[in-house]
């Protein structure tokens, strides 16, 4: 009886959820560990971009992509990085990219969907 009622109620509940719709998070999203990252700092020299990514969350995160944007347009994208960062750790990403003098926005994303951004100013070498 307990098994039957439990199964029936779960099915009913999921049905009601699907009918209601418009919920902000799915059950899986709620139960998944929270991700939080930040870019500690970054610098650029000799066509190499150094990005320090910090994992502020309690679990392991995987950095998936880094985008370099100039005035809203992506000038360089590094996808499929798959770099694992332990909890409370900071790692250095070294990316080969040619940037002219100017102001850029560097965006780091994780597989879990977290995003961190920081502005990079590239000065002339002279």
């Amino acid at each position: 009886m307990l098994a039957i009622t439990s199964v029936v109620s779960v099915i009913l509940y999921l049905y009601v959820l699907s009918v209601i719709g418009g919920l902000r998070y799915s059950i899986i999203e709620i139960l998944a560990p929270y991700e939080d990252i930040m870019i500690d700092d970054l610098w650029y020299k000799n066509e190499e971009l150094h990005v320090y990514v910090r994992n502020l969350s309690g679990g392991v995160i995987t950095v998936s992509s880094v985008y370099v944007e100039d005035d809203g347009a992506t000038v360089s994208a590094f996808t499929d990085l798959n770099i694992v960062v332990s909890s409370n750790d900071v790692i250095e990403l070294r990316l080969r990219v040619a940037l002219k003098e100017g102001s850029y926005l560097v965006r780091v994303t994780t597989i879990g969907g977290s995003i961190a951004e920081k502005r990079l100013i590239v000065w002339s070498e002279g």
């Binding site: 009886m1 009622t5 509940y13 919920l23 059950i27 500690d40």
Partner: protein
């Protein structure tokens, strides 16, 4: 004549089924928003603690390619130093716990370049960033 033997048992079982399903639904209806709220407020402890955290980079003394800094915890909560950046380059990474009112001296290597310390930043485990302006 209609036989009604066991009818009460069947009705009772069905009634029990309805009651239990209804109660399960009530429990689920309560659990979902609670979990949603939990998800929303989960990062709050770190951010709340961050609002009590305050470090001061009191002194920076550059001598040759070495730099001695003194970091003081002027906040209302213990803090853990996690990384230090000079001119945006990471020069130190580790874990040093500072109690409230406690300070620490650190000897750092100035990254190669023009030699001077333009910017110096201390980052804590909570993600707090504390600058020294040279």
């Amino acid at each position: 004549m209609v036989r009604r033997l066991g009818q009460a048992n069947i009705v009772g079982a069905l009634l029990l089924l309805v009651i239990v399903v209804s109660m399960w639904c009530l429990v689920w209806i309560w659990i979902y928003p609670t979990l949603e709220l939990f998800k929303e407020y989960y990062p709050e402890p770190r951010l709340r603690e961050l609002s009590y955290e305050y470090l001061i980079v009191e002194d920076v003394w550059v001598k040759g390619d070495e730099c001695v800094i003194y970091v003081y915890n002027a906040g209302e909560i213990e803090a853990t130093l996690s990384a230090i950046y000079i001119n945006h380059i990471q020069v130190w990474k580790g874990k040093i716990k500072l109690e409230v009112g406690e300070g620490v001296n650190l000897v750092l290597k100035v990254p190669p370049g023009k030699g001077d310390v333009k910017t110096l930043k201390v980052v804590t485990l909570r993600g707090g960033e504390y600058y020294w302006g040279g």
